[in-house]
């Protein structure tokens, strides 16, 4: 009989990172958020946020849309269905992991 899978095996490497989890947590509540809102609410630098958004976009977890308001560019970010599912799965895996370690210790 195979040993039960450790809950840590269900963690998603892309999402299991504080900043990326924070980005998905914002976008899980909102329809969309702009770059400035994400940067401010997660206390990040432009470069840091861009790098993590790139990772999430490459994984298909967010969609990035660039618009112009007058002459001012604005970047909007929206979680995809896969991104929302990944956030829900990560939260469930974290809860399971906490329960697992509470049982062990």
């Amino acid at each position: 009989m195979a040993a039960p899978e450790h809950p840590a095996c269900r963690l998603d490497d892309v999402v299991h990172q504080r900043v990326r989890l924070g980005i998905l947590a914002v976008l899980g509540q909102a329809d969309q958020a702009d770059f400035t809102y994400l940067r401010r609410s997660l206390a990040l630098t432009d470069g840091n946020l861009s790098r993590h958004l790139g990772v999430l976009e490459q994984s298909g977890y967010v969609e990035i849309t660039k618009t112009f308001e007058g002459r001012k560019p604005r970047t909007w970010v929206r979680a995809t269905r896969e991104g929302r599912a990944a956030l829900a799965a990560e939260v469930a895996a974290l809860r399971e992991l906490i329960g697992f370690y509470e049982e062990v210790t």
Partner: protein, 186 residues
């Protein structure tokens, strides 16, 4: 053991971070005071219409006020989204508001007597209950109960113009909750 406890603490810290960011985002999105204040004021303004003629005056009032209020609410949320840089999906709210608008006109046509004057308030209460679920707001859920309770009491009381009493209760309570919500979101 130390490693296990650290892993558990790390997972707890990440989960706390997610919950904190979610709370912060919900607070930023919580601009529902505006439609509450607006429709509360419109509810109060509708009271005299119940004393004039038949239900046609009330229907005409809400045909204009409902559409105008809906447009003003859309305009408010659009401006807020542009200013804050974060928005919530509008479609579920638009659908519920649309169903409420239709129900508020259809239900009185299907009923008679005193019930005809207050039946729309039950539709308003049901819509507020759905909005309370969307907003995860106990205050808005309580408001729905107050509106439905006010409608039942005004029906049971035997007072003339139960629709006017219900509109006054709905308007006052909605306006009050909206003003409190505005203060707490400022």
């Amino acid at each position: 053991m130390i490693n296990q406890s650290r892993n558990g603490e790390e997972a707890r810290a990440l989960l706390d971070h997610v919950e904190s960011v979610q709370r912060q985002t919900r607070a930023a999105l919580g601009g529902f005071w505006f439609p509450l204040v607006l429709f509360g004021a419109l509810g109060l303004a509708s009271v005299p219409a119940y004393f004039i003629g038949d239900g046609a005056v009330v229907a005409a009032f809400w045909a204009v006020a409902g559409v105008g209020g809906g447009v003003a609410t859309g305009w408010y949320y659009h401006g807020r989204q542009q200013r804050l840089g974060v928005s919530q999906a509008a479609l579920p709210y638009v659908i519920v508001a649309g169903v409420l608008f239709v129900a508020a006109f259809v239900l009185p046509a299907l009923t008679t007597g005193r019930l005809q004057e207050v039946v729309s308030s039950f539709a308003v209460a049901a819509a507020y209950l759905v909005f309370a679920i969307f907003e995860r707001s106990r205050v808005v859920a309580a408001l729905a109960v107050v509106i439905a309770g006010g409608a039942v009491l005004s029906l049971a009381s035997g007072l003339d113009h139960p629709g006017a009493v219900t509109a006054a209760v709905t308007g006052l309570s909605t306006l009050g909750v909206g003003m409190v919500a505005r203060r707490s979101s400022a």
